[in-house]
């Protein structure tokens, strides 16, 4: 009530200016400045709560285990670069990094190519079963992965030919399959927004459907491809449950598995500096992508929630 009263008084004091401007002169500024101090305070506290733990990983990656444990808040006195080589070599983070790059690289490319092919056909052509196939894909967004992992484990184990468990191509195929629902959903909507005339012109000039797709439509869909590509990259780079179940062989571990294993086994005498450096190794590609493409990352991920 009090702020209202103050406002009423303030308005009565300056009757002539009220309708004209709403700037700091009309008495609202007093409410504004008090609230701004308060709101900035809370915003800064939250920013610190998010930022400090992440910075802590960064500076701990340069401290020795002893320093991390006895003085968790202190800055490193000497930069222990060996943490990074210990993580890369002794803790196998190098191997896990390479595994992750192979799997995520293969599956992002596969998801983008296969997803936009399917989406293009579903968006641009009428044929019997079009709606059914579209909804079959989209339904996949609502299946809880937890319910699927047990049968999925046996699908991979008993795959005709040879088991796909703990293989690169097995993981790649699974990542592609689980990224298709949202990719198809997103890209179908995107292809529908593109003008038809360009594609028609290409067809009249004698381009085949395939050629029209790869040389005309895909380049036009670039903004959509970037958004969904980043979305898939982040999701697949950070994937934890699927590799946990399908990739239980140490030399094929991806980064998230490797980190979880090191953290779970970490006794108090172990190499904490290397663990922190390992976390930085796992985070760096993501941090680079996020910093460069913040706008696309934020819009891509929030679009994912509004599916």
């Amino acid at each position: 009530m009090t702020t209202e009263e103050i406002e009423t008084v303030a308005k009565l004091d300056t009757p002539a200016t009220v309708p004209a401007k709403l700037g700091p002169t009309n008495g609202r500024s007093s409410e504004g400045s008090v609230l701004n101090v308060f709101s900035h305070g809370i915003l800064i506290v939250w920013a610190l709560m998010v930022g400090v733990p992440l910075l802590w990983v960064l500076w701990s990656a340069f401290k020795d285990s002893n320093g991390i444990l006895t003085d968790p808040w202190g800055l490193p006195t000497v930069l222990h670069w060996e943490n990074w080589s210990n993580a890369w070599n002794d803790a196998n983070m190098g191997q896990y990094f390479i595994n992750t790059v192979i799997v995520v690289g293969g599956s992002v490319i596969g998801t983008m190519v296969l997803g936009s092919m399917a989406a293009y056909v579903l968006a641009r052509f009428t044929f019997p079963g079009n709606r059914f196939i579209y909804y079959l894909f989209v339904a996949g967004m609502s299946f809880p992965v937890f319910m699927l992992v047990i049968p999925l484990f046996f699908v991979l184990r008993d795959f005709p030919g040879s088991s796909l468990l703990a293989t690169y191509h097995g993981l790649i195929l699974v990542y592609i399959a689980y990224s298709l629902p949202f990719t198809v959903f997103f890209m179908t909507a995107f292809f529908r927004t593109l003008p038809t005339t360009v594609a028609e012109a290409a067809m009249i000039d004698g381009a085949s459907h395939t050629r029209t797709f790869f040389q005309v439509m895909l380049p036009m869909a670039k903004p959509g491809l970037i958004s969904i590509g980043i979305f898939n990259f982040l999701g697949q780079w950070n994937q934890y449950l699927l590799p946990m179940v399908l990739n239980q062989q140490e030399d094929k571990y991806v980064l998230t598995q490797g980190l979880a294993m090191i953290a779970l086994q970490q006794g108090y005498e172990n190499d904490w500096g290397a663990l922190m450096a390992g976390m930085m190794i796992a985070m760096l590609p993501v941090l680079v992508v996020y910093t460069i493409f913040q706008r696309q990352v934020q819009s891509g991920l929030t679009a994912g929630a509004l599916k």
């Binding site: 504004g32 699927l148 047990i150 399959a177 198809v184 796992a282 992508v289």
Partner: protein
Amino acid sequence: MQHGKYRFIVGFLALPLIIYAIFVISPFVQAFQISMTDWSGLVGTAQFVGLDNFEKLWDSDDFWNALRHNIYMLALVPVVTLGLGLFFAFMLNVGGRRRKNEVVTGVAGSKLYKFVFFFPQVISITIIAVIWFNIYNPDPQDGMLNSLLGAVGLDSLQNSWLGEKSLALWCISAVMVWGHVGFYVVLFSAAMASIPRDIYEAALLDGANRFHTFFKITLPLLWDTVQTGWVYMGIIALDAFALVQIMSVNMGGPDGATDVMPLRLYLTAFRDSQFGYASAMGIAMLIVTMTFAVLTMRFARRERIEY
């Protein structure tokens, strides 16, 4: 235009559909089938046992215990996360009113806040779990939280956090909130940006303060987004697998205090090899998730406001 159309459609859809059918659709169907067998997975013979697994599940104290923890999180985590998200988003987009020529504006530095707040959303849940495991470290010297409390003279608040039966679940819930608030700040910011400025202008001319602006304009116009966000956050609260697996004492401890349904399913399947029983848990989780989503959509429905 019709030349080779069907050959093209089949050519483009075949591969995505085959991959999707093998790795997503077929596990979905098999999950129901496996849940009615006593399959231990090791030998190929599985006996059909009807609904026995579901009866066993109904009588299982362990599963009810895990379900109860998920329900606690479901009741708490979305309220806190979305509440904070709405508050921050309002501050960043509508909260500042000190600049000239603009009626509605965010506080200074809102872009930077959004960038920092969103950070936990792009890094892997494994890394988040390892960071917070160290923050909650019970040692008064080693643990970041305890040493911070000690430094500001609040020694009495020092605790063993994850080791304390009554606190462990709430500590893990807090991490979930920490990780997702930034996502909702960005999501709600995007939704707020689409609210026409003149609505705020009119309200300001009528003398509305920030409190009124938020509850009478912003929240009602954001309701659809809030509802979707609620379902999304609820599904995350029904999971919690990675956090509990990595952070909790003895996976779900101390003494079962942090056990959750997905962890139960994972251990039942891949540690105890009771695949039929674990599949029944998966079906139960599907039912719980669907019930939650349907109830939310039903009770949160309001009249749509057009603008």
